[in-house]
């Protein structure tokens, strides 16, 4: 365990066969990435990477730590939305007043991660790049309509968050690329709910919902992100379609929940069967939609 809380300089001291770099700016970081290619791993909070390292599941030649790179940290209002730096810790997300009131799905997802110790060091960018299908922030960001900023030596590109998750623990990143920021559009009513066995566990399923209401009270926009529902974080497109443009009530929410259960394809493992997960997707889509709708009605997104 001690390795998981190791500070950057522990690596500076040198693991045999493992070089450590602490670039001082983005340019240097990108140059290092370009140099090492597949042989290097970016080190953010280390909360996932060091587990894989200490278990011997991966054996990179170098770690490139991002902690000294300026400009990757912080939450900033921009264009009516928010830009969140990749190195922003999960603790910062859960305790940020703007997120808590205007993007509660993300604050709730951050708060649902593991333990205070993990959240103190774990970052948003690291969590997304780990691309665990049972992670919490991905579902919230899908619901919030986030996009992801990716840079390499040639420039920057943006991808909608749901396109970032290519396969099980495989983000859509090239070896020379860094995730630098997450952009959130203007807020709507949102919520994230997590079903897990113990208080510290990954999700059996997690559901984030975001709802915008038209003046007549019908649902003008709906997005649903699912955790634990497939081999990647999933956007419940069919469920969204069921409620979009409709008034929100049990009569529409229940069919949406059932549609989400239909479109997901969960894993069977020691935590839960795929069948149970599917049923829970329906339960939590229903609950999350109801809560997001309530928030949208209260307008506590502003």
């Amino acid at each position: 365990m001690s390795a998981m809380h190791a500070r950057d300089d522990v690596f500076a001291a040198g693991e045999p066969g493992l070089a450590y770099h602490a670039p001082r700016d983005l340019e240097e970081a990108l140059a290092l990435l370009a140099r090492y290619g597949e042989e290097a791993k970016v080190l953010a909070g280390g909360q996932s990477l060091l587990v894989f390292l200490s278990q011997g599941l991966i054996a990179p030649a170098a770690l490139i730590g991002l902690r000294r790179v300026p400009g990757l940290d912080g939450i900033e209002e921009r264009d009516g939305g928010l830009t969140i730096g990749a190195m922003t810790t999960q603790h910062a997300l859960e305790s940020d007043p703007t997120l808590r009131t205007r993007y509660p799905a993300l604050a709730e997802a951050a708060q649902a991660i593991a333990t205070p110790q993990v959240r103190q060091r774990g970052t948003l960018g690291g969590n997304l790049c780990h691309a665990n299908p049972t992670g919490d922030p991905p579902a919230a960001l899908i619901a919030l309509g986030a996009s992801i900023e990716i840079v390499n030596g040639d420039g920057a590109r943006r991808v909608p968050v749901q396109e970032f998750f290519r396969d099980y623990m495989e983000p859509a990143l090239q070896p020379d690329e860094l995730l630098t920021a997450v952009h959130l559009p203007p807020p709507v009513g949102s919520a994230y709910l997590k079903h897990r066995i113990r208080g510290v566990d990954n999700a059996i399923v997690g559901v984030a919902a975001a709802i915008a209401l038209a003046p007549d009270g019908t649902c003008s926009e709906a997005r649903i992100g699912l955790s634990g529902a497939a081999t990647t974080p999933l956007r419940a497109v069919a469920a969204e379609a069921v409620i979009r443009g409709k008034p929100l009530s049990d009569d529409t929410i229940q069919p949406a929940a059932e549609a989400a259960a239909q479109e997901c394809d969960p894993l069977d493992d020691t935590e839960a069967s795929a069948d149970y997960r599917r049923e829970m997707v329906a339960v939590f889509v229903r609950r999350a939609l109801a809560r997001a709708a309530e928030r949208a009605r209260q307008g506590d997104t502003e």
Binding site: I197, R198, G199, T270, S273
Partner: protein, 776 residues
């Protein structure tokens, strides 16, 4: 509530600080894995990856050729047989493996990485054999036979064994047929209970040292130094006198460190290499290759009178022993004793079959067979209450053991605390007021469970020496595994008897060369037995001090008293002599003060004819317990949260209430883990979740505040009336929580653990049959 010695006491009964507290909380305590000896090698065990296979060949030549590898051992180098009860184990599999994880070879090398590399180079060629993982299927006449002839292994004459059955235990009392014929109602139900791992904070660890003549000294994380020494002798043929086992600081055991495991391989490798060898399990190895709790199946049938009196009970129990016997035959006997529950049942027909499968061997875990059996019996009791329309508490009080009743094997019971325990627990949780949920998604329920438990016998020895400054050194063979039984309990007893402050006492424990014999930290026995030996030894030393003081003070011994380490004439404080003065001359002028204590408890007498096939037949110094729980269940997900929990436990006498409460709370938390989250998931004998992310120990977030009530109904033989307190608190939670869940959702849950998915299914579909095709 009687106490056998005259209170008030100065030190016992108080919340004294344990002698090892500072080292433990500051991280100074030295565990076996912390030891580094000059020239030390690193060992690793190579294990079978097959559940049942013939070994065609083992090729270790590449491993041997690897530079830095010092010893590679296989069955050729170690051919002894051993086993706790039945001699069915060999150090390495020679021609056949019977479970995943069975050792086939061991390697010692200059570094741990080299040892691992060498292990990976050992090629074992297997030919798979038909395997069986379900203990009920293993009983079928055409099932593959796991040991060609179980009866051929040396073992106690009592055992009745054949095929895959390594022990068939029967308990017969009264006239079972007449009981059922005369019953107003018959209730029948079946249950299945799962396996969990002891998961002490410290995995198994040992460092073996060896001298020029091959004498080995093991620094081991063990609960049972003398037991380990004997098993080593048996397994390796090393003379007993050439083995020394020294218990290092033990980071918890819970039964998992009773058997010699790593010790055998470390000793063997050290002797082969002529150098010290360190063998420390990773968490993964510890979880996957332990000897965890037994999976069990139960079919219970009770004959009842309309007023709730239990007239008779018929029970069929199957206990999955896994591939080797270890303690399973004895543990099956414990289960037989638990099936009637702490209730007066005049007619009994209990059958326990202890059965081999190709699962990992199951063994001792705090309260072995207890959580499973009490869960089954108490859930059955709740089903009876529901069937008869009798209140759950009422049903239990009506049948509860009382003073003068007989236990299942005829032992006479006295000072039975059960009814007080039931009443206190029911009051504490306010069982009379139904639980109500304040949220539409959740249901609430309350429940309770009762049990009785034992205090294991076995010998204990203790020496008490006084130093020249009047301070005290205790030599005791018992093992301090974290409970405080030695470092608080024994220390307090010695301080009490010698009339010195606790700070004057030092203890050396658990060393087969340097301390007297002890039967190990098992069966809730340490304080009861070792405490009693320590009491005797301290009294012996005290007597020697009094004699010496009487001569010096020219007073009659009867006129002397001891106050704070000073022997004085009663009522005349200025005519006194401190211990330091009595012992100051003991290097040249006087004999040393040396107290001796030895103890072997007398278990209660039983009626031998009622139980057959068992090596376990009586509950020595029994204690009685009741737990109560309140739970909240999410009606749509099945997720269960324990919101309130009460442990009422008879400790006989709480030598240190802080550590008694610690056992009650820790045990209850462990039992809550059994009930809700922990499970060894085996797939064809292979553990699918051998890490602490997937094997789910309860955390503080999952554990409620656990309230404790200590009752003190003194035992006859324990020090000051103390009884064993370590195991009972883990035994009841699955039952109490099952009772509360059933109260919340309106249906019993007949299979453990009560995961969200399982409870959800019962909410949706009603009670589920626990087990199919259970043979009667």
């Amino acid at each position: 509530m009687t106490v056998s010695e005259a209170p008030p006491f100065a030190t016992v009964g108080a919340r004294g600080r344990r002698l090892d507290a500072d080292d433990k909380v500051t991280g100074r305590a030295r565990y076996a894995g912390d030891l580094i000896l000059p020239g030390m090698l690193h060992g690793v065990i190579v294990r079978s990856d097959r559940p049942h296979a013939r070994i065609v060949s083992i090729d270790s030549s590449a491993a041997r050729a690897l530079p830095g590898v010092v010893a590679v051992l296989t069955a050729e180098e170690a051919q002894g047989r051993f086993g706790e009860i039945v001699k069915d184990q060999s150090v390495f599999a020679a021609d056949r493996v019977r479970h995943v994880g069975e050792p086939v070879a061991a390697v010692a090398a200059e570094t741990a990485a080299l040892a691992a590399e060498a292990a990976n180079l050992i090629e074992t060629d297997y030919e798979d054999l038909p395997a069986i993982f379900d203990p009920i299927a293993a009983l079928a006449p055409d099932a593959p036979v796991i040991h060609d002839d179980v009866a051929s292994y040396a073992g106690p004459a009592e055992l009745i064994r054949w095929g895959n059955v390594l022990a068939h235990i029967t308990l017969r009392r009264g006239d079972i047929e007449a009981a059922f014929a005369g019953a107003d109602r018959i209730v029948e139900s079946s249950y299945a209970a799962h396996s969990v791992h002891q998961t002490p904070m410290e995995p198994r660890a040992v460092v073996a040292d060896v001298d020029g003549r091959g004498r080995v000294t093991l620094h081991s994380s063990t609960q049972h130094p003398f037991g380990v020494r004997y098993q080593l002798h048996e397994a390796l043929g090393i003379p007993l006198a050439d083995i020394r086992v020294v218990a290092a600081t033990v980071g918890g055991g819970f039964g998992g460190k009773l058997e010699a495991s790593l010790d055998i391989y470390a000793a063997l490798l050290a002797r082969a290499a002529g150098r010290p060898v360190r063998l420390v399990n990773t968490r993964e190895e510890d979880l996957a290759n332990g000897n965890p709790r037994h999976p069990m199946r139960f079919r219970l049938r009770s004959a009842l009178a309309a007023d709730g009196a239990i007239l008779g009970r018929e029970a069929h129990i199957v206990l999955d022993a896994g591939a080797y016997a270890i303690g399973s035959p004895l543990i099956g006997g414990v289960a037989a004793m638990l099936i009637p529950g702490p209730y007066r049942i005049p007619n009994l027909a209990v059958d326990v079959k202890v059965v081999h499968t190709n699962n990992i061997p199951f063994g001792s875990y705090r309260g072995p067979s207890g959580p499973q059996s009490v869960y089954a019996v108490e859930t059955h009791m709740d089903e009876i209450a529901r069937e008869l329309g009798i209140d759950r508490v009422e049903l239990r009080l009506r049948n509860a053991f009382e003073d003068g009743d007989e236990g299942p094997t005829g032992q006479r019971l006295g000072r039975v605390s059960l009814k007080e325990a039931i009443t206190r627990a029911a009051e504490a949780i306010d069982l009379a007021t139904p639980a109500v949920s304040d949220h539409p998604n959740t249901l609430r329920g309350k429940g309770l469970a009762c049990a009785w438990w034992l205090t294991t016998t076995g010998s204990a020895g203790c020496g008490v020496q006084l130093n020249e400054d009047g301070s005290v050194v205790v030599q005791i063979g018992a093992a301090e595994i974290g409970t405080g039984a030695v470092m608080a309990g024994v220390a307090q007893i010695v301080a009490e008897e010698l009339g010195v402050p606790l700070e004057r006492v030092r203890i050396i424990w658990g060393d087969t060369d340097a301390t007297p014999m002890d039967a190990g930290a098992q069966g809730s026995r340490t304080l009861f037995n070792a405490g009693r030996a320590a009491q005797t030894a301290a009294r012996d030393a005290r007597q020697q001090l009094l004699e010496r003081a009487a001569a010096l003070l020219e007073a009659a011994e009867a006129d002397l008293e001891i106050v704070d380490g000073v022997v004085q004439v009663r009522g005349v404080p200025d005519r006194g002599v401190p211990y330091a003065e009595l012992t100051a001359g003991q290097m040249w002028m006087s004999e040393p003060i040396l107290g001796r204590g030895a103890f072997l408890a007398n278990p209660p007498a039983i009626a031998l004819d009622v139980i057959e096939g068992s090596v376990f037949t009586v509950f020595n110094a029994p204690s009685f317990h009741c737990h109560a729980a309140e739970v909240e269940v999410d009606r749509e997900t099945g997720q269960t949260r324990v919101v309130d929990y009460v442990v009422v436990q008879d400790a006989g006498f709480a030598v240190n209430p802080t550590f008694v409460e610690g056992q009650m709370q820790g045990g209850a938390a462990q039992g809550i883990g059994y009930a809700l989250t922990e499970e060894i998931v085996l797939d064809e004998g292979r553990m699918l979740n051998p890490n602490l992310a997937l094997y789910k120990l309860p955390t503080t977030l999952d554990t409620p505040n656990i309230r404790t009530v200590i009752l003190e109904y003194a035992s006859d033989q324990g020090p000051y009336g103390a009884k064993g307190v370590g195991e009972p608190p883990v035994v009841l939670p699955p039952a109490a929580i099952a009772s509360a869940i059933a109260d919340a959702i309106g249906s019993p849950v007949r299979t453990t653990p009560f995961t969200p998915e399982r409870v959800h299914r019962v909410i949706r579909e009603g009670p589920q049959a626990a087990t199919k095709d259970f043979p009667l």
